[in-house]
Subunit: 242 residues, 2 copies
DNA sequence: CGTAGGCTTGAATATGGTCAATGGTTGTGG
DNA sequence: CCACAACCATTGACCATATTCAAGCCTACG
């Protein structure tokens, strides 16, 4: 039932750097199982101290923080290949929650094995740090979008980035990618109200720049949408897979 | 002239986790020198591929991204103890620039030694990943502030966080900390216009909640400012020092 | 003493938020 | 099989927060 790392479909994506033989051998032991969850489940809770860390194998989700008054900030969207639980794994406590938007399958690793990895497999430890650095970079980009772009440009920029991310894991077909979030999720990610997000998406749809309906996002002309957004999101560099 | 790590004044701060003897020995070799720069200098440039990474020993600065149209997003403020250059060190290219607001002294490490560190000193490698995880956490918090808080609350929140950060490195005296940035820097960090930032700071000053003048920030009653901000920034957990 | 950089202030404007209500779809219990 | 609830998308009207434009002021510095 469980997919062994040597048969992992994600390894076929150019987006991820290849494993060496030695790394592959290690990962086969490191992966202790799979977790399958329904859409709308909470995988990790802010403040929790999970004994496990994960890599998304399939499905989509959100990482978010909740404020006292119930408002919510979506920190990032999660896609196949994303590693989750680093904070709990290293610092001992999650600083945000993780929730699924679709059914999701996750590769499970034991937090307690992380330290062994650092001792015995420095190349994998290095890759984990690399993944953390990529995450930091992406958050900086998001911060820049929220701080410097108008609502309409923010939305155009975000749709492009989501489209890129889904493309690199092979989920694009003719400019169409599956995108299983609610408008509220995007609004919460971009710091906009649901109403304004809705109206802007509607405008993008009418102008033919981007069409996100029924769980599918269709961008016919990425360059045109990028021009509308002011500039395209930075291209995604290849990165390690855990 | 150069301060050896065993005499590093930062190690006296409770905020930083202590070194083991072995780590200390390693750091003494790992640190290859010091870099002293004037206020207003650029230490690292977006897109650059620096052969070195650094830890701030003294002084303050900003990490920021520049957009095509010249607008600027300050990603974070830099204080003693902050590690910079992880992205260049690991991914090979800086994704933001680093500029000083005051004169600054930096501990210099060779990027090429990083990999040796992962191989020979897993505890230090683990700490570096920890530092990256902390950075990720702080960026998530900033993102939440930009996305969910009104201008006035954002500013109050940011002043509190800056105050916290300076306190933990021992720079507070009677509620007063040195804060050597321009109002424009804060505006660029929070995604607000200079004018609005100025007016809000003025209001905070008049109401006695926070007084930031002439390079010093004075917060008499942190609890009251936190109430005004909606909620206090998350407390800063102890973290490793590199 | 003149200039540059940063801070301060007022007035006009617009971007985006809040409130309120409707319609479509899905799932569930009677 | 229908009634009802829950959830999400959509739309209009009104309003507030924050931007932009424009000026004046102060201090440090050559």
């Amino acid at each position: 039932m469980v997919i062994p790392c040597d048969k992992c479909p994600l390894r076929r994506c150019q987006y991820f750097l290849p494993f060496t033989e030695e790394e592959l051998t290690f990962m086969l032991k490191f992966k202790t199982g799979e977790l399958t969850v329904d859409a709308g489940s909470t995988v990790l809770m802010e403040g929790s101290n999970s004994p496990q860390v994960f890599t998304v194998l399939s499905g989509m989700g959100t990482r978010y923080k909740t404020l006292e008054d119930g408002r919510r900030q979506v920190i990032s969207f999660l896609f196949p290949g994303d590693f989750i639980g680093l904070q709990a794994g290293i610092m001992g406590e999650m600083k945000h929650s993780v929730e699924t938007a679709t059914a999701m399958v996750l590769c499970v690793f034991n937090r307690s094995d992380l330290w062994n990895m650092f001792k015995a497999h420095p190349a994998r430890a290095y890759d984990l740090t690399w993944i953390a650095a990529v995450e930091e970079h992406l958050l900086g980009e998001s911060l820049t979008a929220l701080g410097q772009r108008s609502g309409a440009k923010r939305i155009a920029w975000a749709l492009l980035r989501l489209h890129y991310r889904l493309r690199v894991v092979g989920l694009e077909k003719d400019g169409v990618v599956p995108l299983a979030f609610r408008q509220q999720d995007l609004a919460d990610a971009l710091g906009l109200s649901l109403v304004h997000t809705n109206k802007t998406l509607m405008a993008l749809r009418k102008s033919g720049l981007a069409r996100w309906v029924d769980g599918y996002l269709d961008i016919k002309d990425r360059a045109r949408l990028a021009a509308y957004a002011g500039s395209a999101p930075e291209p995604l560099d290849r990165r390690p897979l855990m």
